[in-house]
Protein backbone atom coordinates (compact mmCIF):
# COMPACT_ATOMS: atom_id res chain seq x y z
CA UNK A 1 0.00 0.00 0.00
CA UNK A 2 2.85 2.36 0.92
CA UNK A 3 6.38 1.57 -0.15
CA UNK A 4 9.49 3.73 0.31
CA UNK A 5 12.57 2.65 -1.64
CA UNK A 6 15.78 4.32 -0.46
CA UNK A 7 13.96 7.60 -0.09
CA UNK A 8 16.01 10.69 0.71
CA UNK A 9 14.48 14.10 1.26
CA UNK A 10 16.56 17.24 1.61
CA UNK A 11 14.83 20.59 2.12
CA UNK A 12 16.27 23.40 0.04
CA UNK A 13 18.86 25.40 1.92
CA UNK A 14 19.41 22.70 4.55
CA UNK A 15 22.59 20.72 4.77
CA UNK A 16 21.44 17.44 6.24
CA UNK A 17 18.74 15.08 5.04
CA UNK A 18 15.30 15.15 6.64
CA UNK A 19 14.96 11.55 5.47
CA UNK A 20 18.00 9.49 4.60
CA UNK A 21 17.77 6.32 2.51
CA UNK A 22 14.50 5.24 4.07
CA UNK A 23 13.05 1.94 2.87
CA UNK A 24 9.74 0.86 4.32
CA UNK A 25 6.94 -1.38 3.11
CA UNK A 26 3.44 -1.08 4.57
CA UNK A 27 0.89 -3.68 3.51
CA UNK A 28 -2.78 -3.07 2.91
CA UNK A 29 -4.77 -3.15 6.13
CA UNK A 30 -1.77 -2.68 8.43
CA UNK A 31 -1.72 -0.39 11.45
CA UNK A 32 1.67 1.30 11.77
CA UNK A 33 3.04 3.66 14.40
CA UNK A 34 5.68 6.09 13.28
CA UNK A 35 7.67 7.13 16.34
CA UNK A 36 10.72 9.25 17.01
CA UNK A 37 11.68 12.55 18.56
CA UNK A 38 10.78 15.92 17.05
CA UNK A 39 12.75 16.50 13.88
CA UNK A 40 13.35 12.81 13.33
CA UNK A 41 11.53 12.91 10.00
CA UNK A 42 8.03 11.67 10.90
CA UNK A 43 6.22 14.64 9.39
CA UNK A 44 8.39 14.56 6.28
CA UNK A 45 7.51 10.88 5.90
CA UNK A 46 3.78 11.65 6.05
CA UNK A 47 4.08 14.59 3.67
CA UNK A 48 5.85 12.46 1.13
CA UNK A 49 2.98 9.97 1.26
CA UNK A 50 0.53 12.85 0.67
CA UNK A 51 2.77 14.14 -2.11
CA UNK A 52 2.97 17.55 -0.48
CA UNK A 53 6.64 17.20 -1.27
CA UNK A 54 8.55 15.10 -3.73
CA UNK A 55 11.41 12.91 -2.58
CA UNK A 56 14.85 14.21 -3.48
CA UNK A 57 15.85 10.69 -4.47
CA UNK A 58 14.43 7.20 -4.20
CA UNK A 59 10.91 6.06 -4.95
CA UNK A 60 7.64 6.45 -3.09
CA UNK A 61 4.78 4.11 -4.05
CA UNK A 62 1.29 4.76 -2.76
CA UNK A 63 -1.60 2.50 -3.77
CA UNK A 64 0.56 0.98 -6.49
CA UNK A 65 1.65 4.25 -8.09
CA UNK A 66 5.05 5.86 -8.05
CA UNK A 67 3.89 9.23 -6.81
CA UNK A 68 7.15 11.07 -7.35
CA UNK A 69 6.43 10.94 -11.05
CA UNK A 70 2.75 11.71 -10.71
CA UNK A 71 1.68 14.77 -12.68
CA UNK A 72 0.47 17.61 -10.42
CA UNK A 73 -3.04 17.47 -11.82
CA UNK A 74 -3.32 13.83 -10.74
CA UNK A 75 -2.36 14.59 -7.14
CA UNK A 76 -5.96 15.41 -6.05
CA UNK A 77 -7.01 11.94 -7.20
CA UNK A 78 -4.27 10.40 -5.08
CA UNK A 79 -5.33 12.41 -2.04
CA UNK A 80 -8.91 11.22 -2.37
CA UNK A 81 -7.59 7.78 -1.43
CA UNK A 82 -5.93 9.12 1.70
CA UNK A 83 -7.66 10.52 4.78
CA UNK A 84 -5.68 12.80 7.06
CA UNK A 85 -6.10 13.73 10.71
CA UNK A 86 -4.03 16.28 12.61
CA UNK A 87 -3.21 17.13 16.18
CA UNK A 88 -5.10 20.45 15.89
CA UNK A 89 -8.26 18.95 14.27
CA UNK A 90 -8.48 21.68 11.60
CA UNK A 91 -12.26 21.93 11.59
CA UNK A 92 -14.06 24.84 9.93
CA UNK A 93 -15.39 26.90 12.87
CA UNK A 94 -18.31 28.42 10.94
CA UNK A 95 -19.74 25.08 9.85
CA UNK A 96 -21.67 22.51 11.86
CA UNK A 97 -20.32 19.03 12.51
CA UNK A 98 -22.34 17.61 9.61
CA UNK A 99 -21.28 20.42 7.29
CA UNK A 100 -17.65 19.91 8.20
CA UNK A 101 -17.86 16.24 7.26
CA UNK A 102 -19.97 16.92 4.17
CA UNK A 103 -17.48 19.57 3.00
CA UNK A 104 -14.91 16.87 2.23
CA UNK A 105 -17.39 15.21 -0.12
CA UNK A 106 -18.81 18.39 -1.66
CA UNK A 107 -15.47 19.70 -2.81
CA UNK A 108 -14.63 16.50 -4.65
CA UNK A 109 -17.94 16.63 -6.45
CA UNK A 110 -19.94 13.85 -4.75
CA UNK A 111 -23.66 14.02 -5.26
CA UNK A 112 -26.07 15.39 -2.71
CA UNK A 113 -27.75 12.02 -2.22
CA UNK A 114 -24.43 10.30 -1.55
CA UNK A 115 -23.55 12.98 0.95
CA UNK A 116 -26.86 12.68 2.75
CA UNK A 117 -26.31 8.97 3.38
CA UNK A 118 -22.54 8.93 3.96
CA UNK A 119 -22.37 11.78 6.47
CA UNK A 120 -24.81 10.43 9.12
CA UNK A 121 -23.40 6.94 8.62
CA UNK A 122 -19.89 8.13 9.31
CA UNK A 123 -20.93 10.30 12.25
CA UNK A 124 -22.51 7.24 13.78
CA UNK A 125 -19.35 5.21 13.17
CA UNK A 126 -17.24 7.74 15.08
CA UNK A 127 -19.77 7.94 17.90
CA UNK A 128 -21.23 11.36 17.19
CA UNK A 129 -24.80 10.41 16.30
CA UNK A 130 -27.17 13.22 17.19
CA UNK A 131 -24.42 15.85 17.29
CA UNK A 132 -24.46 16.74 13.60
CA UNK A 133 -26.00 20.15 14.18
CA UNK A 134 -23.51 21.27 16.82
CA UNK A 135 -20.80 23.77 16.07
CA UNK A 136 -17.20 22.62 16.61
CA UNK A 137 -16.62 24.99 19.54
CA UNK A 138 -19.52 23.38 21.40
CA UNK A 139 -17.69 20.05 21.42
CA UNK A 140 -14.94 18.66 23.64
CA UNK A 141 -11.46 18.10 22.19
CA UNK A 142 -12.07 14.39 21.85
CA UNK A 143 -15.34 14.99 20.04
CA UNK A 144 -13.70 17.49 17.72
CA UNK A 145 -11.06 14.95 16.85
CA UNK A 146 -13.84 12.47 16.11
CA UNK A 147 -15.33 14.98 13.69
CA UNK A 148 -11.94 15.32 12.03
CA UNK A 149 -11.67 11.52 11.78
CA UNK A 150 -15.17 11.36 10.33
CA UNK A 151 -14.17 13.93 7.74
CA UNK A 152 -11.03 11.97 6.88
CA UNK A 153 -12.90 8.68 6.64
CA UNK A 154 -16.20 9.75 5.05
CA UNK A 155 -14.84 9.13 1.55
CA UNK A 156 -13.75 5.64 2.65
CA UNK A 157 -10.07 6.13 1.82
CA UNK A 158 -7.65 3.24 1.53
CA UNK A 159 -5.15 4.93 3.81
CA UNK A 160 -5.69 6.99 6.95
CA UNK A 161 -2.81 9.19 8.01
CA UNK A 162 -2.87 10.52 11.56
CA UNK A 163 -0.26 13.06 12.65
CA UNK A 164 -0.18 13.09 16.47
CA UNK A 165 -3.97 12.69 16.68
CA UNK A 166 -3.90 12.42 20.48
CA UNK A 167 -1.34 15.15 21.03
CA UNK A 168 -3.93 17.62 22.35
CA UNK A 169 -6.04 15.14 24.29
CA UNK A 170 -5.97 13.73 27.80
CA UNK A 171 -5.12 10.02 28.22
CA UNK A 172 -8.69 8.83 28.73
CA UNK A 173 -9.95 10.64 25.64
CA UNK A 174 -6.91 9.41 23.72
CA UNK A 175 -7.88 5.83 24.42
CA UNK A 176 -11.27 6.48 22.86
CA UNK A 177 -9.68 7.94 19.76
CA UNK A 178 -7.31 4.97 19.48
CA UNK A 179 -10.25 2.56 19.73
CA UNK A 180 -11.89 4.46 16.90
CA UNK A 181 -8.76 4.31 14.73
CA UNK A 182 -8.52 0.60 15.47
CA UNK A 183 -12.12 0.13 14.39
CA UNK A 184 -11.41 1.98 11.15
CA UNK A 185 -8.33 -0.18 10.65
CA UNK A 186 -10.48 -3.29 10.98
CA UNK A 187 -12.57 -2.21 8.01
CA UNK A 188 -9.46 -2.78 5.92
CA UNK A 189 -8.11 0.77 5.95
CA UNK A 190 -4.36 1.09 6.29
CA UNK A 191 -3.57 3.39 9.22
CA UNK A 192 -0.29 5.25 9.52
CA UNK A 193 0.02 7.19 12.75
CA UNK A 194 2.86 9.41 13.89
CA UNK A 195 2.97 9.80 17.65
CA UNK A 196 4.94 10.69 20.75
CA UNK A 197 2.52 8.92 23.04
CA UNK A 198 4.42 5.99 24.51
CA UNK A 199 1.48 4.72 26.52
CA UNK A 200 -0.68 4.33 23.46
CA UNK A 201 2.00 2.59 21.43
CA UNK A 202 2.71 0.17 24.25
CA UNK A 203 -0.96 -0.57 24.72
CA UNK A 204 -1.83 -1.17 21.07
CA UNK A 205 0.97 -3.56 20.24
CA UNK A 206 1.06 -2.74 16.57
CA UNK A 207 3.91 -2.44 14.14
CA UNK A 208 6.34 0.35 15.14
CA UNK A 209 8.70 2.15 12.80
CA UNK A 210 11.14 4.38 14.65
CA UNK A 211 12.91 7.22 12.91
CA UNK A 212 15.99 8.97 14.24
CA UNK A 213 17.64 11.81 12.37
CA UNK A 214 15.95 10.77 9.15
CA UNK A 215 16.90 7.11 9.34
CA UNK A 216 14.81 4.04 10.19
CA UNK A 217 16.40 2.69 13.36
CA UNK A 218 13.72 0.13 14.17
CA UNK A 219 10.91 -1.63 12.34
CA UNK A 220 9.23 -4.03 14.66
CA UNK A 221 5.98 -5.95 14.50
CA UNK A 222 3.89 -5.60 17.69
CA UNK A 223 6.43 -3.22 19.14
CA UNK A 224 6.41 -0.84 22.06
CA UNK A 225 7.46 2.79 22.19
CA UNK A 226 10.58 2.68 24.30
CA UNK A 227 12.27 -0.35 22.78
CA UNK A 228 15.78 -0.85 24.11
CA UNK A 229 18.21 -1.34 21.28
Amino acid sequence: MIRFEKVTKTYPGQGHNALDQVSVDVEKGEFVFLVGSSGSGKSTFLRLVLREYRATSGRVYVAGKEINRLASWKVPRLRRQIGTVFQDFRLLPNKTVSENVAFALQVIGRSRSEISTLVPETLELVGLEGKGDRMPDELSGGEQQRVAIARAFVNRPMILIADEPTGNLDPTTSVGIMKLLDRINRTGTTVLMATHDAGIVDQMRKRVIELDDGRVVRDQAQGIYGFQH
Binding site: V75, L92, G109
Partner: protein
Protein backbone atom coordinates in the same frame (compact mmCIF):
# COMPACT_ATOMS: atom_id res chain seq x y z
CA UNK B 1 -19.34 18.91 -10.32
CA UNK B 2 -21.24 20.24 -7.38
CA UNK B 3 -21.20 23.99 -7.62
CA UNK B 4 -23.21 24.81 -4.52
CA UNK B 5 -20.04 25.45 -2.57
CA UNK B 6 -18.61 27.60 -5.36
CA UNK B 7 -21.64 29.87 -5.44
CA UNK B 8 -22.00 30.18 -1.67
CA UNK B 9 -18.28 30.97 -1.51
CA UNK B 10 -18.74 33.54 -4.27
CA UNK B 11 -21.43 35.39 -2.36
CA UNK B 12 -19.46 35.20 0.86
CA UNK B 13 -16.25 36.31 -0.80
CA UNK B 14 -17.91 39.30 -2.44
CA UNK B 15 -19.44 40.41 0.85
CA UNK B 16 -16.36 39.75 2.94
CA UNK B 17 -14.11 41.88 0.77
CA UNK B 18 -16.69 44.41 -0.28
CA UNK B 19 -14.51 47.52 0.05
CA UNK B 20 -11.69 45.84 -1.84
CA UNK B 21 -14.03 44.73 -4.62
CA UNK B 22 -15.48 48.24 -4.85
CA UNK B 23 -11.98 49.65 -5.19
CA UNK B 24 -11.23 47.17 -7.99
CA UNK B 25 -14.53 47.95 -9.73
CA UNK B 26 -14.04 51.72 -9.56
CA UNK B 27 -10.45 51.64 -10.75
CA UNK B 28 -11.25 49.18 -13.47
CA UNK B 29 -14.31 51.14 -14.54
CA UNK B 30 -12.33 54.38 -14.93
CA UNK B 31 -9.43 52.72 -16.71
CA UNK B 32 -11.71 50.79 -19.06
CA UNK B 33 -13.66 53.96 -19.85
CA UNK B 34 -10.41 55.73 -20.70
CA UNK B 35 -9.29 52.84 -22.89
CA UNK B 36 -12.66 52.95 -24.62
CA UNK B 37 -12.32 56.71 -25.09
CA UNK B 38 -8.87 56.16 -26.53
CA UNK B 39 -10.33 53.71 -29.04
CA UNK B 40 -13.14 56.13 -29.93
CA UNK B 41 -10.77 59.08 -30.33
CA UNK B 42 -8.50 56.97 -32.46
CA UNK B 43 -11.28 56.05 -34.87
CA UNK B 44 -12.48 59.64 -34.76
CA UNK B 45 -9.03 60.92 -35.73
CA UNK B 46 -8.85 58.28 -38.47
CA UNK B 47 -12.21 59.30 -39.82
CA UNK B 48 -11.43 63.01 -39.82
CA UNK B 49 -8.04 62.46 -41.42
CA UNK B 50 -9.51 60.16 -44.01
CA UNK B 51 -12.21 62.61 -44.88
CA UNK B 52 -9.96 65.62 -45.11
CA UNK B 53 -7.12 63.65 -46.59
CA UNK B 54 -9.02 61.98 -49.41
CA UNK B 55 -11.02 65.10 -50.20
CA UNK B 56 -8.18 67.46 -49.63
CA UNK B 57 -8.63 70.48 -51.74
CA UNK B 58 -6.44 73.46 -52.30
CA UNK B 59 -8.35 76.59 -53.16
CA UNK B 60 -6.61 79.31 -55.13
CA UNK B 61 -8.42 82.64 -54.98
CA UNK B 62 -7.85 84.69 -58.10
CA UNK B 63 -7.35 88.44 -58.29
CA UNK B 64 -10.43 90.63 -58.12
CA UNK B 65 -10.81 94.25 -59.13
CA UNK B 66 -9.84 95.80 -55.77
CA UNK B 67 -7.62 93.08 -54.35
CA UNK B 68 -5.80 93.21 -50.99
CA UNK B 69 -2.79 91.55 -52.61
CA UNK B 70 -0.59 94.29 -54.18
CA UNK B 71 0.62 91.75 -56.79
CA UNK B 72 -2.85 91.85 -58.28
CA UNK B 73 -2.79 94.87 -60.59
CA UNK B 74 -6.22 94.19 -62.05
CA UNK B 75 -9.01 91.65 -62.08
CA UNK B 76 -7.83 88.28 -63.38
CA UNK B 77 -7.96 88.06 -67.18
CA UNK B 78 -9.13 85.17 -69.34
CA UNK B 79 -5.57 84.69 -70.62
CA UNK B 80 -4.28 84.43 -67.06
CA UNK B 81 -7.03 81.93 -66.19
CA UNK B 82 -6.13 79.80 -69.19
CA UNK B 83 -2.49 79.79 -68.13
CA UNK B 84 -3.42 78.83 -64.54
CA UNK B 85 -5.65 76.03 -65.83
CA UNK B 86 -2.81 74.77 -68.02
CA UNK B 87 -0.33 74.69 -65.11
CA UNK B 88 -2.86 72.87 -62.92
CA UNK B 89 -3.76 70.40 -65.65
CA UNK B 90 -0.15 69.52 -66.36
CA UNK B 91 0.74 69.02 -62.72
CA UNK B 92 1.00 65.27 -61.97
CA UNK B 93 -0.28 65.74 -58.38
CA UNK B 94 -3.67 67.03 -59.48
CA UNK B 95 -6.61 64.70 -59.79
CA UNK B 96 -9.27 67.21 -60.69
CA UNK B 97 -10.03 70.95 -60.68
CA UNK B 98 -12.87 73.36 -61.30
CA UNK B 99 -13.38 77.10 -61.47
CA UNK B 100 -15.83 78.90 -59.25
CA UNK B 101 -17.30 82.17 -60.52
CA UNK B 102 -17.93 85.37 -58.59
CA UNK B 103 -21.66 84.63 -58.70
CA UNK B 104 -21.22 81.15 -57.25
CA UNK B 105 -19.08 82.51 -54.42
CA UNK B 106 -21.64 85.24 -53.76
CA UNK B 107 -24.43 82.65 -53.60
CA UNK B 108 -22.45 80.61 -51.08
CA UNK B 109 -21.77 83.53 -48.77
CA UNK B 110 -25.40 84.61 -48.96
CA UNK B 111 -26.44 81.13 -47.87
CA UNK B 112 -23.92 80.98 -45.00
CA UNK B 113 -24.66 84.45 -43.58
CA UNK B 114 -28.28 85.03 -44.64
CA UNK B 115 -29.52 86.62 -47.87
CA UNK B 116 -31.06 89.74 -46.24
CA UNK B 117 -27.64 91.26 -45.51
CA UNK B 118 -26.90 91.41 -49.22
CA UNK B 119 -30.11 93.02 -50.43
CA UNK B 120 -31.56 96.50 -50.39
CA UNK B 121 -29.91 99.89 -50.77
CA UNK B 122 -26.76 99.24 -48.76
CA UNK B 123 -25.67 95.59 -49.21
CA UNK B 124 -22.65 94.23 -47.27
CA UNK B 125 -21.14 93.05 -50.52
CA UNK B 126 -21.99 92.44 -54.13
CA UNK B 127 -20.97 89.71 -56.52
CA UNK B 128 -18.17 91.96 -57.72
CA UNK B 129 -16.58 91.91 -54.24
CA UNK B 130 -16.21 88.13 -54.46
CA UNK B 131 -13.07 86.59 -55.97
CA UNK B 132 -13.15 83.97 -58.65
CA UNK B 133 -11.39 80.79 -57.49
CA UNK B 134 -10.06 77.46 -58.66
CA UNK B 135 -10.70 74.36 -56.52
CA UNK B 136 -8.00 71.74 -56.96
CA UNK B 137 -8.41 68.16 -55.76
CA UNK B 138 -5.16 66.30 -55.16
CA UNK B 139 -4.36 62.68 -55.94
CA UNK B 140 -2.33 62.17 -52.78
CA UNK B 141 -3.28 64.26 -49.75
CA UNK B 142 0.33 64.43 -48.61
CA UNK B 143 1.63 65.72 -51.95
CA UNK B 144 0.43 69.28 -51.89
CA UNK B 145 3.57 71.43 -51.77
CA UNK B 146 4.40 70.96 -55.47
CA UNK B 147 1.12 72.31 -56.79
CA UNK B 148 0.95 74.97 -54.13
CA UNK B 149 4.31 76.46 -55.09
CA UNK B 150 3.56 76.04 -58.79
CA UNK B 151 0.45 78.24 -58.71
CA UNK B 152 1.19 80.66 -55.90
CA UNK B 153 3.44 82.89 -58.04
CA UNK B 154 1.33 82.86 -61.21
CA UNK B 155 -0.12 86.10 -62.51
CA UNK B 156 -3.76 86.43 -61.49
CA UNK B 157 -3.48 84.27 -58.36
CA UNK B 158 -4.14 86.20 -55.15
CA UNK B 159 -3.97 83.66 -52.31
CA UNK B 160 -3.84 79.89 -51.89
CA UNK B 161 -5.75 78.29 -49.02
CA UNK B 162 -4.86 74.83 -47.74
CA UNK B 163 -7.85 73.13 -46.10
CA UNK B 164 -5.58 71.22 -43.84
CA UNK B 165 -4.85 74.37 -41.90
CA UNK B 166 -8.49 74.33 -40.90
CA UNK B 167 -8.65 70.65 -39.92
CA UNK B 168 -5.13 70.39 -38.53
CA UNK B 169 -5.88 71.77 -35.06
CA UNK B 170 -8.84 69.45 -34.70
CA UNK B 171 -6.76 66.41 -35.59
CA UNK B 172 -3.99 67.50 -33.23
CA UNK B 173 -6.49 68.02 -30.43
CA UNK B 174 -7.89 64.52 -30.95
CA UNK B 175 -4.38 63.08 -30.98
CA UNK B 176 -3.43 64.73 -27.68
CA UNK B 177 -6.69 63.63 -26.05
CA UNK B 178 -6.24 60.08 -27.25
CA UNK B 179 -2.66 59.81 -26.01
CA UNK B 180 -3.62 61.39 -22.69
CA UNK B 181 -6.52 58.99 -22.21
CA UNK B 182 -4.38 55.96 -22.97
CA UNK B 183 -1.55 57.15 -20.71
CA UNK B 184 -3.87 57.68 -17.74
CA UNK B 185 -5.55 54.37 -18.56
CA UNK B 186 -2.17 52.62 -18.44
CA UNK B 187 -1.50 53.91 -14.92
CA UNK B 188 -4.99 53.01 -13.76
CA UNK B 189 -4.73 49.54 -15.27
CA UNK B 190 -1.58 49.06 -13.25
CA UNK B 191 -3.41 50.23 -10.12
CA UNK B 192 -6.28 47.88 -10.93
CA UNK B 193 -3.89 44.94 -11.32
CA UNK B 194 -2.32 45.69 -7.94
CA UNK B 195 -5.75 45.94 -6.34
CA UNK B 196 -6.77 42.62 -7.87
CA UNK B 197 -3.58 41.06 -6.52
CA UNK B 198 -4.29 42.46 -3.04
CA UNK B 199 -7.87 41.26 -3.13
CA UNK B 200 -6.76 37.75 -3.98
CA UNK B 201 -4.20 37.77 -1.21
CA UNK B 202 -6.83 38.84 1.31
CA UNK B 203 -9.34 36.29 0.02
CA UNK B 204 -6.76 33.51 0.05
CA UNK B 205 -5.89 34.42 3.62
CA UNK B 206 -9.53 34.54 4.69
CA UNK B 207 -10.11 31.13 3.13
CA UNK B 208 -6.86 29.49 4.13
CA UNK B 209 -8.55 26.87 6.35
CA UNK B 210 -11.03 25.82 3.68
CA UNK B 211 -8.32 25.78 1.05
CA UNK B 212 -6.05 23.67 3.23
CA UNK B 213 -8.79 21.10 3.73
CA UNK B 214 -9.77 21.14 0.07
CA UNK B 215 -6.21 20.36 -0.95
CA UNK B 216 -6.01 17.65 1.67
CA UNK B 217 -9.17 15.82 0.66
CA UNK B 218 -8.28 16.03 -3.02
CA UNK B 219 -10.37 18.83 -4.50
CA UNK B 220 -9.16 19.67 -7.98
CA UNK B 221 -7.18 22.87 -8.53
CA UNK B 222 -9.96 24.17 -10.73
CA UNK B 223 -12.47 23.67 -7.95
CA UNK B 224 -10.25 25.53 -5.48
CA UNK B 225 -9.57 28.35 -7.94
CA UNK B 226 -13.14 28.65 -9.15
CA UNK B 227 -14.50 30.98 -6.41
CA UNK B 228 -11.56 33.33 -7.05
CA UNK B 229 -12.14 33.27 -10.79
CA UNK B 230 -15.86 33.87 -10.34
CA UNK B 231 -15.18 36.83 -8.06
CA UNK B 232 -12.79 38.23 -10.64
CA UNK B 233 -15.37 37.70 -13.35
CA UNK B 234 -18.15 39.40 -11.39
CA UNK B 235 -16.05 42.48 -10.61
CA UNK B 236 -14.94 42.61 -14.24
CA UNK B 237 -18.50 42.30 -15.51
CA UNK B 238 -19.71 45.15 -13.27
CA UNK B 239 -16.77 47.36 -14.27
CA UNK B 240 -17.34 46.64 -17.96
CA UNK B 241 -21.06 47.40 -17.65
CA UNK B 242 -20.42 50.78 -15.99
CA UNK B 243 -17.63 51.62 -18.43
CA UNK B 244 -19.78 50.81 -21.47
CA UNK B 245 -22.54 52.92 -19.93
CA UNK B 246 -20.12 55.82 -19.48
CA UNK B 247 -18.92 55.49 -23.07
CA UNK B 248 -22.53 55.42 -24.23
CA UNK B 249 -23.20 58.59 -22.25
CA UNK B 250 -20.14 60.21 -23.81
CA UNK B 251 -21.41 59.27 -27.27
CA UNK B 252 -24.95 60.45 -26.64
CA UNK B 253 -24.42 63.62 -24.63
CA UNK B 254 -20.91 64.49 -25.80
CA UNK B 255 -20.60 63.59 -29.47
CA UNK B 256 -24.22 63.49 -30.51
CA UNK B 257 -25.43 66.24 -28.20
CA UNK B 258 -22.65 68.82 -28.50
CA UNK B 259 -19.66 68.11 -30.72
CA UNK B 260 -21.69 67.39 -33.84
CA UNK B 261 -23.28 70.83 -33.59
CA UNK B 262 -20.15 72.58 -32.43
CA UNK B 263 -17.74 71.22 -35.04
CA UNK B 264 -19.89 70.39 -38.04
CA UNK B 265 -17.25 70.18 -40.72
CA UNK B 266 -15.81 66.82 -39.74
CA UNK B 267 -17.67 63.50 -39.82
CA UNK B 268 -18.26 62.26 -36.25
CA UNK B 269 -18.18 58.68 -35.00
CA UNK B 270 -21.46 56.86 -34.62
CA UNK B 271 -22.98 53.70 -33.18
CA UNK B 272 -20.70 51.29 -35.09
CA UNK B 273 -17.57 52.81 -33.59
CA UNK B 274 -19.18 52.79 -30.15
CA UNK B 275 -19.80 49.05 -30.38
CA UNK B 276 -16.19 48.42 -31.39
CA UNK B 277 -15.02 50.32 -28.30
CA UNK B 278 -17.54 48.43 -26.15
CA UNK B 279 -16.24 45.08 -27.41
CA UNK B 280 -12.64 46.11 -26.72
CA UNK B 281 -13.63 47.10 -23.17
CA UNK B 282 -15.67 43.92 -22.67
CA UNK B 283 -12.70 41.76 -23.62
CA UNK B 284 -10.08 43.79 -21.77
CA UNK B 285 -12.01 43.90 -18.46
CA UNK B 286 -12.20 40.16 -17.79
CA UNK B 287 -8.65 39.64 -19.09
CA UNK B 288 -7.34 42.23 -16.64
CA UNK B 289 -8.90 40.45 -13.66
CA UNK B 290 -8.77 36.80 -14.73
CA UNK B 291 -5.11 36.71 -15.75
CA UNK B 292 -3.69 37.99 -12.45
CA UNK B 293 -6.18 35.78 -10.59
CA UNK B 294 -4.95 32.68 -12.42
CA UNK B 295 -1.31 33.57 -11.86
CA UNK B 296 -1.71 34.59 -8.22
CA UNK B 297 -3.98 31.79 -7.06
CA UNK B 298 -1.30 29.45 -8.33
CA UNK B 299 1.22 31.38 -6.28
CA UNK B 300 -0.76 31.87 -3.08
CA UNK B 301 -2.71 28.63 -3.00
CA UNK B 302 -0.05 26.32 -4.42
CA UNK B 303 -2.86 24.36 -6.02
Amino acid sequence: MQLRYVFSELGQGLRRNLSMHLAVILTLFVSLTLVGLGVLLNTQADRAAQQWGSELQITAFLCKARDDNPACTSEVTDAQKERIAKVVEENPEVADYRFETKEEAFAKIKELLGADKFEGANPAATADDMPESIWITLKDPDQYQGIESAIVGLDGVSTVRDQRQVVGPVLQGLDVMQKGALLIAAFLVLAALLLVANTIRLAAFARRREIGIMRLVGASSLYITLPFLMEALVTAAISVAIAVGALGAFMWFGVHGRLEDLVGFIPWIGLDEFWVAAVVVAILGPVLTLLPTLVLTRKYLKV
